[in-house]
């Protein structure tokens, strides 16, 4: 049955958490989908644009990400990560599919890494309804990454933003594969531990 689709930001939608909105989406609530879109579209778009460097491709990824949310909302498990983590996971996966299909990755990797911008910390939040929280998250991640040795940080950024495998990173940086594996493992362990510690001290 087709139900009215104008975005009617009812009071209850505005007050719901992201996880609660996803729960409603799983029940077929189209307005909840609209509310989640309004709340998270900038985060998803920013990541897609960073990965792809093309506004049209980023637009495709944004729509496909929220379409997957509509179709698979019931699969979301709050115990396995935040909604924004889930959205980023979907968006990054779609973006990397596009990059690999179009074989544009080599030209985009440099820009993906070089476009890293400290001013992002000072900008407004990606989430208009959760500005402080998003800014804090950004600061936490930035702080944790800044504590990593540069070569470790480079390895995980090439993997995350460039979509490169460990072997491809080794080839690109001219380092032995074993070295890259060690750098990635150490970097992610430190990042996880540091973020966990920073989050605990922030609460």
């Amino acid at each position: 049955m087709r139900t009215p689709t104008p975005s009617t930001p009812a009071r209850d939608h505005a007050a719901l958490t992201d996880a609660e909105l996803v729960q409603r989406v799983a029940g077929g609530d189209q307005r909840a989908l609209g509310a989640l879109y309004d709340r998270q579209v900038t985060l998803v778009h920013s990541l897609a644009l960073r990965l792809l460097g093309d506004a049209d491709d980023a637009e495709d990824v944004v729509e496909e990400t929220f379409w997957q949310v509509w179709r698979h909302a019931s699969r979301y498990d709050v115990s396995r990560g935040s909604v924004s983590t889930w959205l980023c996971s979907i968006a990054r996966s779609r973006a990397l599919d596009l990059l690999r299909a179009a074989r544009r990755r080599p030209e985009r990797i440099a820009s993906a890494i070089e476009s890293d911008d400290d001013s992002a910390l000072a900008s407004a939040s990606a989430n208009p309804l959760g500005g402080v929280e998003e800014s804090e998250q950004r600061a936490l991640v930035r702080g944790a990454l800044n504590e990593l040795p540069p070569e470790q940080r480079e390895s995980i950024e090439l993997a995350y933003f460039g979509g490169l495998s460990q072997s491809e990173i080794a080839e690109r940086t001219g380092q032995p594969l074993g070295t890259i594996k060690t750098r990635i493992r150490l970097a992610m362990m430190k990042l996880r531990a540091r973020l966990s510690s920073l989050r605990e001290s922030a609460t």
Binding site: M1, R2, P4, T5, P6, S7, P9, A10, A14, G28, Q30, G34, A35, Y37, D38, V41, T42, H45, S46, L47, R50, L51, A58, E59, V62, E63, E64, W67, W70, R71, S74, R75, R80, S82, T85, A91, R92, S93, D117, A120, A124, A126, G131, Q137, R138, L140, V141, R142, L145, I156, A159, Y160, F161, L164, Q166, I169, K181, I184, R192, L195
Partner: protein, 281 residues
């Protein structure tokens, strides 16, 4: 794969940086190892935290409104009953977008495929390349062909959507409501209400940017003074905006449309004086 081997590779898996074989082996272990499953979850959270580092780039308002409208229309077409299992996975369906030189693009795409194929065949024969080289090139060609096919499908879809938009704005049953405001920049808006399909297409010009943490919200006001939100929107750099919504309303029940300035995310009811108002015929 042993527990120790899986532990060594969990970090790489959280970044999708393993080989396909490694990935399958680790996931098989994770499926039966609670410790590794928990650790992988935490590492993925940390990995996707890196998304926060992407320079914040809000979507162009017109694109954002277009994607929203298209997304909700798709959702309405494939409404999922509460508690229903998720639909089957499907191929990526790309949204419609710009429409330029459609027939030329189709011709160029087909010609490119043919030319690349001929070039590849000559190359393979004359150079006597090994079979695995040919296979690799063929796979690349097939990938390129899939890309062309997807682009053609997207353009077909864009053409259909563009036609539908034109119908919604120019059809016999369309009522047009103009909205204006005094002032130097003279913000203005025009609503195209397709009473047959229940589609509302609103176009605005010269609207100043909403303040931080504020947004514009479009309202349908009935003769009974019921105020129905038709969506929130932002403006482009030039102050333009496009909002598309679907809502069935009886023909004689609309009194006016209005645009108000509201907190981000919108309000259940207008909280400020309208910046644009239009009276229905």
């Amino acid at each position: 794969m042993t527990h120790a081997e899986a532990q060594e590779l969990l970090a790489a898996l959280s970044l999708d940086a393993t080989s396909t074989d490694e990935r399958e082996a680790i996931l098989a272990h994770v499926a039966v190892c609670d410790e590794c499953a928990r650790e992988l979850g935490e590492l993925r959270d940390a990995a996707h935290g890196m998304a926060q580092l992407a320079r914040e780039t809000p979507m162009d308002p017109v694109r954002q409104a277009r994607v929203r409208a298209h997304l909700l229309a798709r959702a309405a077409d494939r409404a999922q009953p509460a508690g229903a299992p998720p639909p089957r996975p499907a191929a990526i369906t790309m949204p419609p977008r710009r429409l330029t030189r459609f027939s030329t693009a189709r011709f160029v795409a087909a010609a490119a495929i043919v030319l690349i194929g001929v070039a590849l065949a000559l190359y393979a024969v004359s150079a006597g390349q090994r079979a695995n080289d040919l296979q690799r090139d063929t796979q690349r060609l097939l990938a390129a062909q899939r890309g062309f096919e997807r682009e053609i499908a997207a353009r077909d879809s864009a053409l259909a959507d563009r036609q539908a938009l034109l119908d919604a704005m120019t059809g016999a049953g369309v009522q047009v409501i103009e909205a204006g405001a005094p002032g130097a920049r003279k913000p203005s808006g025009k609503m195209f209400w397709d009473q047959t399909s229940g589609q509302w297409t609103f176009v605005a010009h010269n609207l100043p940017h909403a303040a931080p943490n504020r947004t514009y919200q479009l309202w349908l006001i009935t003769r009974a003074q019921r105020k129905i939100s038709a969506g929130v929107f932002a403006t482009s750099a030039s102050g333009d905006a496009l909002v598309i919504a679907h809502y069935p309303l009886p023909q004689d029940s609309l009194a006016a449309i209005a645009v108000t300035d509201e907190p981000s995310g919108g309000s259940p009811q207008p909280t400020t004086a309208p910046v644009l108002v239009g009276t229905a015929r």
